[in-house]
Symmetry: C2
Subunit: 155 residues, 2 copies
């Protein structure tokens, strides 16, 4: 795993995301990395990220998949273009579709591990398939269809 996360290369004005922005003190600050051809991230849910006592809130799981997906999409796009992460102009992606299957209740008190596979990588569209595991159990599977950030969203 590299030392800097994908999200650490986002420009400062694109680093306010509640899920993964370095500049969002209230957010989840998800960090994603390459692990060979796959992408990985870890997250330790806070006590308040509860669904019912003992289990992790599905909306948090969806959020982790979302941000790990768009981060992975960005990294994959840089890689496909033969460019270094963080080089200008920034290649940033947003989610067009998020689909999550909740396969098993996700226990609190464990580090959640996300693993992403780049299923499709085109210039304007990247598809990332992601598993969320607690220990040996795959608790959720998700797919993020990420599209290049529209100019209307850029500052």
């Amino acid at each position: 795993m590299s030392e800097k996360a994908f999200q650490d290369y986002y420009p400062a004005d694109l680093s306010h995301c509640y899920g993964c922005g370095n500049n969002n003190a209230h957010g989840h600050q998800i960090k994603s990395f390459w692990d060979g051809e796959e992408t990985v991230a870890e997250f330790n849910p806070l006590p308040e990220h509860t669904a019912i006592p003992g289990f992790v809130y599905g909306g948090l799981i969806a959020s982790l998949i979302d941000c790990h997906g768009t981060g992975s999409a960005s990294a994959a796009a840089y890689k496909a273009a033969g460019r270094e992460l963080g080089s200008e102009p920034a290649l940033r992606f947003v989610t067009a579709n998020l689909n999550v299957d909740f396969l098993a209740p996700t226990p609190m008190g464990q580090t959640l591990k996300l693993r992403g596979t780049i299923t499709e990588c085109k210039e304007k569209k990247v598809v990332v398939d992601i598993t969320v595991s607690a220990g040996e159990t795959v608790c959720a599977k998700g797919r993020v269809i990420a599209v290049k950030m529209p100019a209307s969203m850029a500052s």
Copy 2:
């Protein structure tokens, strides 16, 4: 609209959800209501619920859809059974699949309005289709496939 939200009828031990639990001081505390045959909820994103400056974080939108979906599923199940909301035994649903299409960037600074349609209602499975609007713009559409809460999750 009725005065008490669906979530206000959840038993206390099922009211810790980050998205909609009355007993989660850190959470979103989403409130859902009937509006005729449809279900509605409103939410005002906080400043930290940012994706990129000016726009709402997709993970929050997914979370709102998730909790409005399971809340609507519960209410629909009570209605289908001819039972009063909150009567025992509790009819609680969890999300098996969450699918969200992000159709337009969701602006900050507006009340988001969710509207749910009960597309399918069986004893153990309820499907809810939900739109999320800011003003006149439908920013996201989601589908929640909710299933009756497994006994393994009940306390």
